[in-house]
């Protein structure tokens, strides 16, 4: 459904910048052949790759590293790849929603379901994002700590990169800078290669899902955590808002899907590479349950040398910085969408004060908290997980209802087969999230399964 006809058309700077981007897309689309298709992909890719590589954030990479160190090569290689397939199903819906409605996720929830759910979504997202941002800066601090960089300088470097991506006040430039930073997530591939993995074992694991880990409480919690971390609320809000800000239309949905699949492929390769990189620690029976980035790098140094360990630590830094950029941006988008303030990375500073203020202040405040001495990190991570559990079911339910809303989606509504798939994914993610939340809140419930 289109909004009521406006009496007067006022063109803004945001419109003009977006129009310039669309002109390039139209020019590329006017030609046929491989090169024009490749150019279209170059122009239209971005939100999907950023959201997937952004989800390979500091805590996620630490989780993959811990998985490799605890279980080695086996069940978790194909399992991690499968979780990214699940992410594709969910994130593709946000591409269609954004392209068909030209509205962000929070804005659609506000308009279609009323202010209560609109404000709830924004506040819930904002709190979860803020806590997650803290964990991202912890990853940056720990990664640069490997090189002896003091905490304050590490945090400053991260903030400078975050703010540098914003200075052009152009979505396109911001996206390209962030994509360039996100590409560094693939640094885990050479690190994995340095460990000389047995490719026969890797191939065998990917095909047969063997060897299976022993089934106990710890394994179940890692499985639940991996499923729960597959799709997080900020991913839904970010990709839809970025699709809108980029100016994508229904003609671009095919490339939006390719962008999402490409992002998932890159992110799953980086995740698997991280598991492979730390698998030698499993062979050496090293306990790495509570390792931070620097400790993993130090533990790997005797195996892959100083250079390889440095790459590993830098990869953790990148994971934290890119996630900090995308997560803080998703908060700013949601704030603008719900409060009906201007919200675009194409906004000049004068017109987008509230948007840039939310973005920069969220990041700065989270960064500042990380510098507090004797910060209870374990408690912060616990609260992040619980808040994610609180936030995820509503976010998924609203996504499902919106993508089936014929009044706003028209012919781009979910077909029956997609609904069956999406309903299954929503059910599994919600159940896994709730179970994971229960495991944190009441760990004794899972004690019957054995384990530590």
């Amino acid at each position: 459904m289109k909004p009521a006809a406006q009496p007067e058309i006022v063109v803004t700077h945001e419109d003009v910048d977006r129009a310039h981007d669309r002109v390039r897309v139209s020019a590329a689309r006017a030609h046929r052949g491989f090169s024009s298709q490749a150019r279209l992909l170059w122009l239209l890719a971005g939100p999907g790759v950023l959201v997937m590589l952004g989800e390979n954030d500091g805590p996620s990479m630490l989780s993959y590293a811990a998985t490799g160190a605890r279980f080695g090569i086996g069940f978790f290689l194909p399992f991690v790849a499968l979780t990214f397939c699940v992410a594709i199903i969910v994130q593709e819906m946000t591409v269609r929603l954004g392209a068909a409605t030209h509205r962000g996720h929070a804005e659609l929830i506000f308009d279609r379901f009323g202010p209560f759910w609109g404000w709830f979504s924004m506040l819930d997202l904002g709190i979860g994002n803020f806590l997650t941002l803290i964990t991202e800066f912890i990853a940056v601090r720990a990664g640069l700590g490997f090189f002896g960089v003091p905490a304050w300088l590490a945090i400053l470097v991260a903030l400078v990169i975050l703010y540098a991506a914003l200075v052009s006040h152009r979505y396109w430039t911001w996206e390209r800078i962030t994509l360039a930073a996100a590409a560094f997530n693939l640094v885990f591939i050479p690190v994995a290669l340095m460990t000389h993995p047995r490719w026969h074992s890797v191939g065998h694991s990917l095909i047969t899902w063997q060897p299976l880990p022993g089934f106990n409480k710890d394994t179940l919690l890692i499985v639940l955590a991996d499923i729960g971390a597959t799709v997080t609320p900020w991913m839904l809000f970010f990709q839809q808002s970025a699709t809108v800000d980029k100016g994508m239309t229904t003609k671009d949905i095919r490339f939006g899907r390719i962008d999402t699949v490409l992002g998932a492929a890159l992110a799953s390769v980086a995740a698997i590479a991280t598991i492979l990189a730390t698998a030698p620690l499993f062979a050496h029976q090293m306990t790495a349950d509570n390792f931070q980035a620097a400790e993993f790098a130090q533990a790997l140094q005797p195996i892959i040398g100083r250079f390889g360990a440095s790459l590993f630590a830098l990869g953790m830094v990148e994971a934290g910085i890119v996630a900090a950029i995308t997560i803080s941006t998703s908060s700013a988008y949601a704030f603008g969408e719900v409060t009906h303030k201007p919200h675009s990375l194409n906004l000049p500073m004068g017109e987008g004060k509230s948007f840039y203020a939310v973005l920069t202040l969220c990041a700065a405040a989270a960064a500042g908290i990380v510098l507090i001495p004797s910060l209870p990190l374990v408690y912060v991570v616990l609260v992040v997980n619980v808040v994610a559990v609180l936030a995820m079911p509503p976010a998924l339910v609203f996504l499902f209802m919106l993508v089936n809303d014929k009044e706003i989606m028209g012919t781009f509504v979910n077909p029956l087969w997609a609904n069956v798939l999406a309903a299954a994914v929503v059910f599994i993610l919600t159940a896994a999230g709730i179970l994971f939340g229960i495991s944190i809140i009441a760990p004794n419930i899972f004690a019957a399964l054995g384990g530590k």
């Binding site: 459904m1 000049p348 609180l390 509503p394 009044e407």
Partner: protein, 71 residues
Amino acid sequence: MTNKRSTPPISALDQNLALSSLEPDQLVGAKKHPIPRRHLKAPELLILWTLRIYLIFMTAVVAYQVWLAAR
């Protein structure tokens, strides 16, 4: 690229470019009009009430955990 700091007036050329390149509901002006509220059917209302109950329960659980940790 437009000079963002001084936000100069938009030229007629740029206005035409925006109007011809963007879909009508892509324009910032069009987005100031909210999309009408959805008329919810019984199953949808049931889902939203389930969500409300879930949220009240989870909020209480989180608050209890924070209180426990603070002690």
